[in-house]
């Protein structure tokens, strides 16, 4: 299913990556040291962002500047890097293949330097090359090139930003990702909602539904080709599956009541969701190939918001079986259901980190709504942000950053925000209108 739906963009990029595997080796001027000389420990809170210089990539038109701007914006928003104002640059890079004058970059305190070039190939594709230099060690850290169709230039910029982030932090990047969310317009008592998708930096926004039907809680498939969400299109609210490339949509399963709060299993073969019967919400899975459904919880309580561990062996969910909503973990077959949250207040919308080490949640306590994380055994609870109404965290694929929505008090609607796992670097994610229910896409492997 995923293979057939592969887009041209992805094919092109995979070809680009293949081309790179061959070409990159020849671009390497120096062996990359096993341990980078410039590096950032991102496990510290509130670190000083690393000053670095990202020069305009050489090109015949403005595309080189556009690409370097996207790279700089990605790195700046991460909170870990401080791209230096280009006006401060001393050396003008005429040939990105030649080692720069390191002292010119050290004197403006650029600890790392990014240079590059964009050429148009005779077949119309762009060739984008870049090098990352460690200015104090006077060594090249990365040299890569990519071939792509001109319209994919932003993706190439994000892939380069990911490569730089990975080299300097030792963690996977997350810039070549997208966000699916619910775009909201209109007054609070007559809100219109549309599914929308955009790059993680807000570019390339596209609406996936027209706003005629109420839609909620979209979630990506692991292959990024499908979205599962809830819609009121059919009278009875149900979980749907949407193929992003074709726009084809279908109801998931043939259940007798409302289905909601869907999410994919890590292998993409199942959708896990809640089904309401006689007012009780229990958790079910449906195998997308065999269509077989399996009931995992069986209580008179509200059991919902299921989320798999990345290895697919466990599921975290919320239940009010003990009175208020709390977080529970069970095995993937529904056995061994154990409560893990015991703090003051109620806990909901748990999401297992792609790294497996943490569970993010919404916590309601003393009239405030917070976003927090805890370990899968319930220990180590940390609140990252608190306010009038914060809800629905989603993980960046590297498990370092969370996105969520914030509804302020008053007439204004919700907006998306991101925050680092340390609780620092909270950023508003710009959308044209109000926005809620974000879901961060995985990275393409």
């Amino acid at each position: 299913m995923i293979k057939n739906g592969q887009t041209q963009i992805m094919k092109t990029l995979q070809q680009a990556v293949m081309a790179c595997l061959v070409a990159c080796a020849t671009l390497l001027l120096a062996l990359v040291p096993a341990k980078a000389l410039v590096e950032i420990d991102i496990n510290q809170g509130n670190i000083e962002p690393l000053p670095m210089a990202i020069t305009d990539f050489n090109s015949d038109d403005g595309i080189g500047t556009q690409i370097s701007d996207v790279i700089a914006d990605d790195l700046r928003r991460s909170g870990l890097f401080a791209p230096i104002n280009k006006a401060a640059f001393i050396q003008k890079i005429h040939n990105p293949d030649v080692a720069p004058r390191f002292e010119d970059w050290r004197v403006i305190n650029a600890q790392a330097l990014v240079v590059g070039r964009v050429n148009k190939e005779t077949d119309g594709r762009l060739r984008v090359e870049f090098r990352l230099w460690d200015t104090f060690a006077a060594e090249q850290m990365i040299g890569q090139q990519f071939f792509t169709q001109p319209e994919n230039w932003r993706r190439v910029a994000h892939i380069i930003a990911d490569a730089i982030y990975e080299k300097l932090t030792g963690e996977r990047g997350y810039f070549d990702t997208r966000v699916v969310f619910v775009a909201e317009t209109g007054p609070r008592d007559a809100r219109q909602k549309q599914l929308a998708i955009m790059d993680q930096d807000g570019a390339n926004l596209r609406y996936l539904t027209q706003g005629d039907d109420l839609v909620l809680t979209p979630r990506f498939s692991p292959g990024r080709q499908e979205v599962t969400y809830m819609s009121f299109a059919d009278g009875q609210p149900r979980v749907y599956l949407l193929q992003l490339e074709t726009g084809q949509r279908e109801i998931v399963g043939n259940f007798p009541g409302m289905t909601f709060s869907p999410r994919f299993s890590p292998d993409g073969q199942k959708v896990i969701m809640s089904l309401v019967q006689d007012g009780n919400a229990n958790i079910y899975t449906m195998d997308l190939r065999s269509r077989a459904t399996t009931r995992l919880t069986n209580t008179p309580a509200i059991d919902t918001s299921p989320s798999y561990s990345p290895d697919g062996r466990q599921i975290v969910f919320e239940s009010d079986r003990g009175g208020r909503q709390q977080l529970y973990v069970m095995n993937a077959d529904g056995s061994n259901q154990n409560r893990i949250s015991f703090g003051d207040g109620s806990y909901s919308t748990p999401v297992w980190s792609p790294r497996g080490d943490l569970i993010a949640f919404t916590k309601q306590s003393a009239g405030k709504f917070s976003i927090g994380v805890m370990k899968p055994d319930g220990s180590g609870e940390r609140i990252l942000t608190t306010g009038f109404h914060n809800e629905g965290p989603t993980w960046a694929p590297n498990g370092r950053v969370l996105m969520f929505f914030r509804q302020p008090a008053g007439a204004a609607g919700p907006q998306l925000h991101s925050i680092d796992l340390t609780g620092y670097n909270e950023q508003r994610v710009d959308t044209p209108n109000y926005a809620s229910d974000p879901a961060w896409s995985p990275l393409l492997e």
Partner: protein
């Protein structure tokens, strides 16, 4: 106090009070005892219509925070709804369950469903055929009162009975 507030905000209760007042007035002039005997409600609603249900019976009940328990003040409304449904036995209804905005999305969808089911069960226990009652939950997606305090949240925690084809 709490009970009085919720009655005052219930338009159906006001409608009923108005109808009773008019009926009392009519008595003195030796006219029929109630607007119903004239074939029309005091407010002009067509008997058996959504407007009739809303104005003369009460189309909605309210709930406590995180609760789907039918409150004492709601029982009276549902009694009247059951009588009305038993009188207009050809009508079927959808009960829309709602939650206030002070909860998370999935939980509120489930809570709305639980409130709709509790309301349905009450009507069924008063003799209305279950096959005539559908339920749906809108969670916190359809607030009727928009402010950021209890005065609005208490109006949004509701179950509304909608005559089929009438729309809400």
């Amino acid at each position: 106090m709490k009970l009085m507030m919720s009655i005052a905000r219930n338009p159906a209760a006001i409608g009923l009070a108005a109808a009773l007042a008019l009926a009392g007035c009519a008595n003195k002039k030796s006219l029929p005892n109630s607007p119903g005997e004239l074939g029309l409600a005091a407010n002009g609603a067509v008997p058996g219509s959504q407007q009739d249900l809303t104005l003369n019976v009460g189309d909605r009940i309210f709930f406590d925070t995180d609760s789907a328990a039918i409150r004492a003040d709601s029982g009276a409304t549902l009694q009247r709804q059951a009588q009305w449904l038993n009188k207009y036995s050809r009508e079927s209804v959808t009960i829309e369950g709602h939650a206030d905005e002070r909860g998370t999305r999935a939980y509120n969808l489930a809570l709305g469903a639980r409130r709709a089911a509790a309301t349905k069960n009450y009507l069924v226990s008063r003799g209305v055929a279950a096959s005539r009652i559908k339920t749906i939950s809108y969670g916190k997606e359809r607030p009727v009162a928009v402010c950021d305090d209890i005065s609005c949240w208490s109006q949004n925690r509701r179950a509304v009975t909608v005559v089929s084809g009438a729309g809400s």
